[in-house]
Symmetry: C2
Subunit: 232 residues, 2 copies
């Protein structure tokens, strides 16, 4: 069997589904048997990541570690975690396992650097923004980036939560004006730096100005799965 | 944590995704944490089910059992298998485990009986049809059903395989005329008795004449997950 990709997911469940769909769509397969084996753990009760970062709510780490242990026991050969905010705990997760644990923030920033992308806004949870998960690397690479102002960030976070509550249309209607505002101040590119964002903006998925962190992560994982060895 | 639903999937990967999407859409949740935990094994290299039934190709049973063992070890409390044809091996799978293993064919037939549905055509793989998975129960209940003729069945099977090869549009264009032909001879209802069929016909999902076996299975699993105990 091809090497199994393990998904540490459920943050949220729709984002996990989006990652799985992107694995299928990016795999050149002509029948079932040519697709890549996947084990997806979707544990939506992992405590809220933004609440933990911002206000010291219950840490999600223990439940993420429990999911990681299941993926290890099940035979996963690399791990992807389609939740940007959860990467706040990436070092602790990675150091606890012998399995490849891909870093979606690093992979996405590598893409931005290698393609010479500039004037980019970060669309993410307030947790991801306050933790500076994207900013530190972009600063180091001298990439000009924009953080939404507090009002815009509040609306982005509301859009994400509204999506998670099941109101897809309202989530889209909240997010879209913020994107227009950011374009008006010179933003040329947008990092979809929360894994709900590509789902909220699915109807605009043909637009080139979006850098979809989930898509970048999945493409990297697929490339890894086609290598003979286990190292990339 | 709520009880975990285990998905024995990958037959094919898009059908597994469809089942997961239907779990999310049918769960009344207002935030991540209210969703149902799911572990999905998507092992697309499970040998072709129809080929094994029709021409004695490699049996998929051993690989299905291996996936089942992983779901048991991971803590799944009930198993769903969103592949109708794979239910040819249902008794062997069920008898090998202590965990609830829901039967999508039985659940779908129960729905047909309880709603008094009649004049129904079975849209399924040639393996499912030749094995009589749906027919035996429908006959027993005196429900008037139609099996597509050999030419129509060949086209249905081609549509399923074309979808699995990645050509969604062609799959739809193949399947739709067969449905019109069946309507012309008096068919009023259609069992989507292959888990790729609701994906192929996704654009028609608002039509009431379809009985989607995946949806019925998922709804049953969700109802089970809301019970206090472990028995339904």
């Amino acid at each position: 069997m091809k090497k199994i990709i393990g998904i540490l997911g459920g943050m949220g469940p729709a984002a996990t589904l989006d990652a799985m769909e992107k694995i299928i769509k990016n795999t050149p397969a002509t029948c079932d048997q040519e697709h890549i084996p996947v084990i997806a753990i979707s544990f939506p009760d992992i405590p809220d990541r933004t609440a933990s970062i911002l206000s010291g709510g219950e840490s999600p780490l223990n439940k993420m570690l429990a999911a990681l242990r299941i993926l290890e026991a099940a035979g996963a050969r690399c791990i992807i975690m389609p939740c940007n905010t959860a990467h706040y705990w990436y070092d602790e997760l990675k150091s606890s396992t012998e399995i490849h644990f891909l870093n979606m923030i690093e992979i996405t920033c590598n893409k931005i650097v290698s393609e010479g992308i500039n004037n980019v806004a970060i669309l993410a949870t307030t947790g991801t923004i306050k933790a500076g998960l994207y900013q530190s690397r972009l600063e180091k690479e001298n990439i000009n980036f924009v953080i939404p102002d507090d009002i815009q960030q509040g609306i982005i976070m509301e859009s994400i939560l509204v999506y998670k509550s099941g109101n897809e249309e309202r989530a889209y209607q909240l997010l879209k004006p913020v994107i227009y505002q950011l374009k008006n101040i010179g933003v040329e590119w947008f990092i979809m730096g929360c894994s709900e964002i590509p789902v909220i903006l699915k109807r605009d998925s043909n637009k080139v100005e979006y850098i979809d962190a989930t898509e970048e992560l999945v493409r990297y994982a697929i490339a890894w799965s086609y290598l003979d060895g286990d190292d990339i």
